[in-house]
């Protein structure tokens, strides 16, 4: 069954081609069927491949399927080949299953839209690119998928292109990720020029044998690849594009900007983990980036009034957790958190879509209220997703994955109390902002009547995702709670094990307990501020420091302002100053010279016979003179 692996990207590509070429001419139902079924088929194949892989793991824990030879120039021979090991299997399965659910949801969500088939075409292309990225066996093919998802992200953020705001958001996303992509390309050049191959496994083994730990080359390569990962995953300092990307349709936000594309950076670092182990300073940088991002995004999420923007900052924060895990060497924990995050974040976005749709495209949480009784399905699923996000102990998947990371931040030789407290602060903040949203939106007095209720196509996916958000964590139970590390064992062939043991005074159980306390503190804090004594919250917000902090956190810690003043304005100023185009001046100068000469010489065309006769005579004088002299 493993040899069917190529169907996983092939189905979405086929769906894209059909929808791109004949989509507008198909009836809506057929376009939806094509779009959803292609992903469904892909998901089915990936589940079959997964069961086969689990039942009979291939040799070396990896299966390679070469499709064809892409480029063949001398010793540069990247191929179109798929590499399946534990890491890519987990991520591919999660991506295809969640994509299928989101496609099913969007069949109903986008039903009123004009660009129905266009939407599914873009989404299919996205899934195809993402799967290519995950299954690529060489870095060039990975980069192809990388660029493909970036393109689809641009196309989908600016899906409602008639509104220029969406176009601006799409451009911003593309340009900011481009900065990261350039760094990544430089990293690929570096790797290729020094290691001679872009095949991932081959280059990693060569790097391990050729480069000593901590030398310049792996540090440079790892840092450049980190730049690419930071851009795609919206971490510091390139996180400014993700909140604005919420201008796209909600299924897009759910799929691309929550569950899949933004985790491509995590995948990249996990894939090239050998490089990071060879460059400890860069790995420390990964951890610091993750920790600082998760705290900063947490504070920003606390101030947002747009429901989707809260979830966007929440995504940035959770990916910060994954980066933190990667940075302290807890590779498996990061992928575990990716899996659970895909479930509950997609769930949260889909329910947010339901709620926004029901409130007639109202995005502000302060204009919603009391939806607990009006939309019970939405309430319970959002509650489950929110608890999973915040990490409700024992019951939710998010608890297990997040606790693993918190513990790893403490116990890893590369961790420490600073990273651990940052992770805990993140838990507190996550609880605060999540329950803030839940209490404001679902509790209190209803503000409007709910007219549009979701149909089965929108309800079933959210219920499935809610179920996964509850039980998805049970594949990795920590020693204190059952000791069932199925996930880690599965990933052992692909990723190095976590070198814990630096626990010292704290055990894993104690760390988990502290995290649980932080969760309840966040829950209680949200309850106090947003249910019981809203006046206190208002007072805090309106006070002098409160207002300043609120503005600061609302504006994403001033990054947009910084980039605008440091980068955008000088470029715009320069473009304005150089309107006359200095470089073009010599060429225009040549034209000008010939024009001037023309005007000058045309003065000799007087039209008078005597003048011409004089010219002839003068010419004769000159020639006779030359004959004289020579």
């Amino acid at each position: 069954m493993l040899h069917l692996l190529w169907l996983v990207p092939a189905f979405p590509i086929l769906g894209f081609l059909v929808l791109a070429l004949v989509g507008p001419r198909l009836p809506r139902k057929l376009a939806a069927v094509v779009g959803v079924a292609s992903i469904g088929a892909s998901a089915v194949v990936s589940i079959l491949v997964a069961t086969d892989f689990l039942a009979a793991p291939p040799a070396n824990g990896a299966f390679r399927q070469t499709l064809w030879s892409w480029i063949d120039i001398g010793w540069f021979r990247p191929q179109v080949a798929l590499y399946l090991d534990g890491l890519s299997l987990v991520m591919t399965t999660v991506v295809t299953v969640v994509s299928f659910l989101i496609h099913l949801y969007s069949a109903e969500f986008m039903a009123d839209d004009d660009g129905y088939s266009r939407f599914f075409a873009y989404m299919n292309l996205f899934v195809a690119s993402m799967v290519m990225l995950l299954l690529a066996d060489n870095l060039l093919l990975l980069y192809l998928g990388w660029e493909g998802v970036g393109l689809c992200s641009y196309l989908l953020i600016g899906f409602w292109y008639r509104d220029p705001v969406n176009g601006l958001a799409a451009r911003k996303a593309f340009i900011v990720t481009r900065v990261g992509d350039t760094a990544m390309a430089l990293g690929l050049f570096l790797l290729f020029s020094h290691l001679g191959t872009l095949d991932i496994q081959a280059s990693m083994s060569r790097a391990a044998s050729q480069w000593p730990v901590g030398s310049g080359l792996p540090i440079a390569a790892a840092a450049l690849l980190l730049g690419g990962a930071v851009g795609k995953s919206a971490q510091l300092p390139l996180q400014t594009w993700l909140p604005d990307a919420m201008a796209g349709p909600t299924p897009t936000s759910a799929l691309i900007h929550a569950a899949t594309m933004v985790t491509a950076g995590v995948y990249l670092i996990a894939r090239t983990h050998v490089l990071y182990e060879l460059a400890p300073p860069v790995q420390l940088a990964v951890a610091i980036v993750g920790a600082s991002t998760l705290v900063m995004a947490g504070f920003s999420a606390l101030t947002q009034w747009d429901l989707k923007r809260v979830l966007a900052y929440s995504t940035i924060s959770q990916i910060g957790y994954m980066f933190l895990a990667l940075g302290v060497g807890a590779w498996t924990a990061a992928i575990f958190h990716f899996m659970t995050h895909a479930f509950f974040k997609a769930l949260l976005f889909l329910v947010a879509g339901i709620v926004i749709h029901a409130m007639n495209d109202e995005h502000s949480i302060f204009r919603m209220g009391g939806l607990r009784r009006l939309m019970p399905v939405a309430f319970w699923t959002f509650l489950i997703g929110g608890c999973s996000l915040a990490g409700l102990p024992f019951l939710t998947a998010g608890f297990y994955s997040k606790d693993l990371i918190v513990w790893a931040a403490w116990s890893s030789p590369r961790g420490g109390w600073a990273l651990w407290s940052a992770a805990l602060l993140g838990v507190l903040l996550t609880g605060l902002y999540t329950f803030r949203v839940i209490f404001v939106v679902f509790f209190g007095e209803p503000t409007a009547e709910v007219e549009k209720r979701p149909g089965p196509a929108m309800t079933i996916p959210v219920i499935v995702l809610a179920a996964l958000s509850l039980v998805g964590g049970l594949v990795e139970l920590p020693p204190a709670l059952g000791n069932l590390p199925l996930f880690s064992r599965f990933m052992a062939s692909a990723l190095p094990p976590f070198e814990g043991g630096g626990g010292g005074a704290m055990s894993e159980g104690l760390s988990g307990l502290v995290a649980a306390v932080a969760f309840f503190a966040g829950l209680y804090g949200a309850y106090v501020f947003f249910v019981r004594r809203r006046s206190l919250a208002n007072q805090m917000a309106l006070s002098r420091p409160g207002r300043a902090l609120h503005r600061f956190w609302f504006a994403d810690w001033g990054f947009d302002w910084l980039y605008d003043h440091a980068l955008v304005r000088p470029v715009v100023w320069f473009a304005r100053v150089n309107k006359g185009d200095v470089v073009d001046a010599p060429y225009r100068g040549i034209a000008r010279v010939s024009q001037v000469l023309h005007h000058g010489l045309s003065l000799t065309e007087t039209g008078r016979v005597r003048w011409y006769a004089a010219g002839i005579a003068a010419g004769a004088v000159v020639f006779v003179g030359i004959a004289l002299i020579l």
């Binding site: 004089a614 005579a617 004088v621 006779v624 004289l628």
Partner: protein, 167 residues
């Protein structure tokens, strides 16, 4: 004979000079005729009696007469003379004179440098010219006759009055 050459040459130059400075067209034409006649004498002194005769008959006798006819046709009167006076300011002469003087000097210099022989030793009479014309230069004769035909037709057409009705 040499004296005849020099005297005729001097008269030719002088009358040409006078011709180009006249205001009245007919006066200038008459001076031109004098110049042509003196050139005919020069031809004779050089031992070319045939072209001397041709010069007088054709050039001075036909072409100049044609000029005179046209000038009479145009009926240029005192107004034309006044116009000429206004056009011929002394300042006008400077440029062309310089040009022509330079040219003449250059030509004289060239002539001075190169060797020359004696001209006019023998008389080349009409017989030799005729033999040359109807011998080796036969094509030239035919071409000249076609040229004359072309000139005739062109002159007839161009000199017509425009037709009454619009075309």
């Amino acid at each position: 004979m040499q004296a005849a050459f020099y005297i005729a040459g001097a008269i030719a130059v002088l009358s040409t000079l006078l011709m180009i400075t006249r205001l009245n067209a007919v006066h200038a034409l008459l001076y031109l005729v004098v110049s042509l006649l003196s050139v005919a004498i020069v031809f004779y002194t050089l031992g070319a009696p045939f072209v001397a005769a041709l010069e007088v008959i054709v050039y001075a006798g036909a072409i100049m007469v044609l000029f005179v006819f046209v000038v009479m046709l145009l009926n240029l009167g005192d107004r034309a003379t006044a116009l000429e006076r206004s056009w011929l300011t002394p300042g006008m002469w400077i440029g062309p004179s310089t040009l022509a003087v330079v040219l003449a000097v250059e030509l004289a210099w060239l002539l001075g440098r190169s060797a020359s022989g004696a001209a006019g030793e023998t008389v080349v009479g009409p017989k030799e010219v005729a033999l040359a014309l109807y011998g080796p230069y036969l094509i030239g004769v035919e071409l000249a006759s076609m040229l004359l035909l072309g000139g005739l037709i062109a002159a007839y057409h161009l000199g017509r009055r425009a037709p009454e009705k619009a075309e």
